[in-house]
Symmetry: C2
DNA sequence: CTGCCATTGTTAAAAAATTCACTATGCATC
DNA sequence: GATGCATAGTGAATTTTTTAACAATGGCAG
């Protein structure tokens, strides 16, 4: 009776589901078999209703009076999000951050496999990082088509992000995760996400300032 | 008549303000002197009312019939957020990501100065990165107090994040930006922000999947 | 097999955030 | 100095998201 809802799913829900998955994995490692929304909520720093609601978008995964089976819930979320498969990814801009991401194993663990890396700097082309050779950006469109890549990661300087995005789109990419602090323009059918860490710095600074101001009153 | 409002300011507003600042800086470099909420909204991918509302939390910065003076608006936002000063920051966990952040100059440009870096790996201690010597984590609490550090960045593996946070709190830190994918527990008076990039990967993957499902119907 | 307990799934209420629509006002022009 | 125009500021309406409350139900004890 549930199976597929046509409600729009809030962006914030996806964000939280990522957190749930992470916490569930830790529990699984610790051998915890069952968890209630109450306890999970506590660990994730959210409201228990919120968890039940988030999950309700996708189906019924719990057992009333018992809770959620940790392993099954994790699997259910992964499936719901379309993460129960491998996604081919390319990375554009092999600088400090690009290298860190290439060497990072969490992506692969989640099914995102970086199959190629590109840079426009001749000194970087040919270099090998994490078992991957850096290629010239001009080869990007053909490579991504040949390798059936669906997602592109941009880690170029901000003023180059649009150019990188254009290459990716030329290569038939369907989604972009942009780490550069600049907006890019793309047609409607491309999903774009911006990873911005400076806003978190702003937020912490602002909160500290606020508390100090409040404290003075 | 405005000066200080006691409304709670939405987290999302701060996030957008960071985007506005970035776009305003680009305009300033291009020599653009004045911008309307309409145009800025277009560049930032938001609604013009949203911009006016966001700014209204802090004051009146525009000129009716004209728009906003780019430089003044940028300054006004920076001031409103408490970014018109220098923030001393320390970083814990000098791995791939930690190094990338240490070498990154956007932080400094925004007034966040990393004054010390710590790691527990004896092979890393003593190494110099971006003009900063890596110190032993055991020295962290004393150092942060001595250097008047207010913000800590965590880039350790997730299972070490809590420990890193404890050291930071021992050092009298007021806010934490955690790049590790694990929740940390802290007393109320510490501001914590989680930088999570995997949820953006999830989101793009999910959106692509959704579109494909929709397309089939 | 019955009834109780715990905890989910869900509906309703509340709160928060966004967008709209309009009012106010600074600036330029005549 | 008055008039028109463009655009900011703002209160109200709308939409979205979160939280609370509770009815439904699986498991377990007796
Ligand atoms: N370093 C960090 O910790 C960090 C953190 C968050 C965000 N960022 C952002 O990520 C981006 C990269 O940061 P970084 O520190 O790695 O910078 P970087 O200068 O070290 O690396 C940028 C790389 O992109 C390459 N490049 C430039 N134009 C290109 C193009 N058109 N096509 C392909 N490659 C191109 C350069 O050759 C260079 O290798 C920046 O936008 C930065 O603001 C960095
Ligand atoms: N690499 C990336 O691109 C990336 C991106 C996003 C998030 N992250 C997250 O950031 C964190 C760091 O990632 P990484 O790739 O740099 O890992 P890494 O293993 O390269 O670096 C971790 C560093 O932390 C140090 N460390 C461990 N325990 C410590 C402790 N108790 N005190 C001080 N230092 C300690 C280690 O010695 C090591 O140098 C991880 O949690 C990762 O999930 C990484």
């Amino acid at each position: 009776m549930h199976q597929l809802k046509f409600e729009r799913i809030p962006r914030a829900t996806i964000s939280r589901l990522a957190v749930y998955v992470q916490e569930l994995e830790v529990m699984e490692q610790q051998g915890i078999k069952v968890i209630s929304s109450e306890k999970l909520a506590q660990l994730c720093g959210v409201n228990p209703s919120q968890i039940r609601k988030d999950l309700a978008y996708f189906g019924e995964f719990g057992v009333r009076g018992v809770g959620y089976y940790v392993h099954e819930l994790r699997e259910a979320i992964r499936q719901s999000l379309g993460l129960d498969r491998t996604w081919n990814v390319v990375l554009v801009g092999v600088g400090n951050l690009g290298r860190a991401l290439l060497r990072h194993n969490l992506l692969r663990k989640r099914g995102f496999v970086i199959v190629a890396a590109f840079d426009c700097d001749p000194f970087k082309i040919g270099e090998e990082i994490a078992g991957l050779e850096v290629n010239c950006t001009s080869k990007l469109p053909k490579s991504t088509r040949d390798m059936n890549v669906e997602i592109g990661i941009i880690t170029t300087p901000p003023e180059r992000a649009q150019r990188a995005a254009n290459y990716l789109m030329e290569g038939g990419i369907k989604g972009i995760v942009n780490f550069a602090p600049s907006r890019i323009s793309t047609p409607e059918n491309i999903s774009v996400e911006y990873v911005d860490f400076i806003n978190h710095m702003f937020s912490v600074a602002f909160n500290i300032t606020q508390k100090q101001i409040r404290g003075l009153l």
